[in-house]
Subunit: 206 residues, 2 copies
């Protein structure tokens, strides 16, 4: 019996749009979905858990992975590497698990090049004002940091057009149900169903 | 406040795949969805209800509609016209209603030419054997009619590749939920959300 490959779900969106509050409950409801944990060479902070927030690696290990084509995408930021290990993603989808990759916009665009059939989802705030409120609302940042965050978010919003779907996060439950709908609909797309339809004898392919 | 245009949902599938048993309950749950009733020049039968099974029209009326480009698609079969009135579909989607068009494969392909952004959904039987069982199971048909129906169905299955989505109707409740997911996912596609995202100030379009 042929089973369908899992989906590569690439999710981006400015900080403060509530990506985590959508992804976490979604994954709880969907045990056939896995989360791709990035690797990094930055030092772990007190709130970090190795293998959960990041896989913490030595610089040499990451450079070896890069050389061996072991990363689907990678970037360096403030002198540290960040990247997505290929093996976890490819193994997961081959076993029929969907795999969520929470990535920056450049990271997401790199995945599309490597895995054109990935599903790209942008989580957007309900408005620019609301985005600013959420960034300011965290309360711990100085005006300069807030301004930097806003400008970064505005740059990210300009890249929405590269995404397949945009979930506007007005209500987290609606947003979760939209994510579920996207996954369910993508699985019954003709292009993704060909192997299964062939197995059922409904289409004839070589 | 900009509202999003409704979707044109084109649904096809061989007879005996249970299109009606998916569409009817779906529409009950979704009052913002309308059903496009075809026009025909064939004589009403005892079970027909004008305006529900078909809009029954005189030949001259239909020919006038054809001349005035009042039909999205039309065909003639056994000397009678069948067609889809444009106005109902265009009015519905402009008002934000989704509109279901249950059509033969050639009819569906004609809609795609006129409304490229329509969503084409094929309802398939779980297997060829099951399709045959369902066609035979109706019990009223002679072997010749059954054979004709099967051959028509097989021809329709060959056109699956022109559809965006394929719902394999193994379980009617799953099939209804897949239809709902397709509709919900299509509405958050970037390409369909541009006007709304622009209104929210999240993207800038001229």
């Amino acid at each position: 019996m042929v089973h369908q490959k899992g989906l590569v779900l690439v999710i981006s969106g400015p900080s403060g749009t509530g990506k985590g509050s959508i992804i976490k409950p979604y994954m709880k409801e969907n045990p056939l979905c896995r989360y791709s944990v990035s690797i990094t060479t930055r030092k772990p902070r007190s709130e970090d858990k190795n293998g959960i927030t990041y896989h913490f690696k030595a610089k040499e290990e990451v450079e070896e992975l890069i050389r061996d084509d072991g990363l689907l995408e990678w970037d360096s930021y403030c002198g540290n590497y960040y990247g997505t290990p290929s093996k976890f993603v490819y193994d997961s989808i081959a076993e029929g698990y969907d795999c969520i990759l929470e990535l920056t916009v450049p990271g997401a665009l790199n995945i599309r090049k490597k895995i054109p059939e990935c599903v790209m989802i942008f989580i957007a705030p309900p408005s620019i004002d609301e985005l600013q409120r959420r960034i300011v609302g965290r309360g711990t940042e100085d005006p300069h940091t807030i301004e930097k965050r806003m400008s970064k978010s505005m740059n990210e919003l300009e890249m929405i057009k590269h995404y397949d779907y945009v979930i506007v996060n007005r209500d987290v439950n609606v947003a979760i149900s939209e994510l579920s709908a996207i996954v369910q609909a993508e699985k019954v797309k003709y292009e993704r169903s060909r192997e299964v339809l062939n197995e059922l004898g409904l289409i004839q392919e070589e």
